[in-house]
Symmetry: C2
Subunit: 180 residues, 2 copies
Amino acid sequence: MNYEEIELRREQKFQGKIISVDVETVKLPNGQEATREVVRHNGAVSCLAVQNNKALFVKQWREPAKAISVEIPAGKLDSKVEEPLAAIQRELNEETGYQADNWQKIYEFYTSVGFSDEKMSFYYCDSLQKLTHKRSLDEDEFLSVQWLSLKEAEALIENGDITDLKTIMAINYWKTLQVS
Amino acid sequence: MNYEEIELRREQKFQGKIISVDVETVKLPNGQEATREVVRHNGAVSCLAVQNNKALFVKQWREPAKAISVEIPAGKLDSKVEEPLAAIQRELNEETGYQADNWQKIYEFYTSVGFSDEKMSFYYCDSLQKLTHKRSLDEDEFLSVQWLSLKEAEALIENGDITDLKTIMAINYWKTLQVS
């Protein structure tokens, strides 16, 4: 069976600082035409940073959810060509004030593939060291850092403080490490 | 510490069939103003549907990734008020031709909370039965169904056929069930 959709044309509907939006007209496998709304994004990075059976989490306001959200350290690529490992090392430094000596790339995934091309690289890291000179946050960023055990992180999913998919995935991934 | 951003005004930049986009001007915790690009979405549902140590997956074209993607059954809410359980039961029927007798809500999360308000309810279900009369797919939907064991699903993450975050989360969640 053929599933492929062929892009016939593309019209840009919005160009912002973080995202842009196109409406594509595509040819379906049955020859009919349809439209697809696509949010374009430079891509992103995130990490599970572990030390002494605790991991680093950051707490910040998320305007789309209009709520405070507890998440693993993460950030956007500065450009389509920024190297993801360099980006997550920068973000871990900026957001938490830590650096890690041991990095392992675990997954590369689309966060919401139905309507967005945002692709995220997810890393595991350990051998953490507190930096004496951390990088500054972006000027519109306000967050605080917390160390959580697996049990504490699971409790924050349960009580609704953690509602972020990448963070829930990371906590489940962390749990699979404990038992193997 | 106060993290809250106060929405001062909102301007709609795009209104599509699936998403709309607003630019919000917010007041930051330090009193400064900033803008936030927010993709609005009705919300979505997904499920891990298990029988005899295999789970149901669907294979379809994803235009944002310009690739075929293997994912757990999922879909959009028809409206902001549709009941998520009814929605996932409909989607499981349409996409796979199965119904399930046992449903458990596992998580509710934002798929990409940095720029989108898409909230997804994720279910586990089992006691599956093949329907004699399945609902039709949407007319622009083309997909096929496959049963995968946990090991097979993990192999598809490894080889890049599974690149969808909710599906990677579900596979890790499934793995935590096996061992507890």
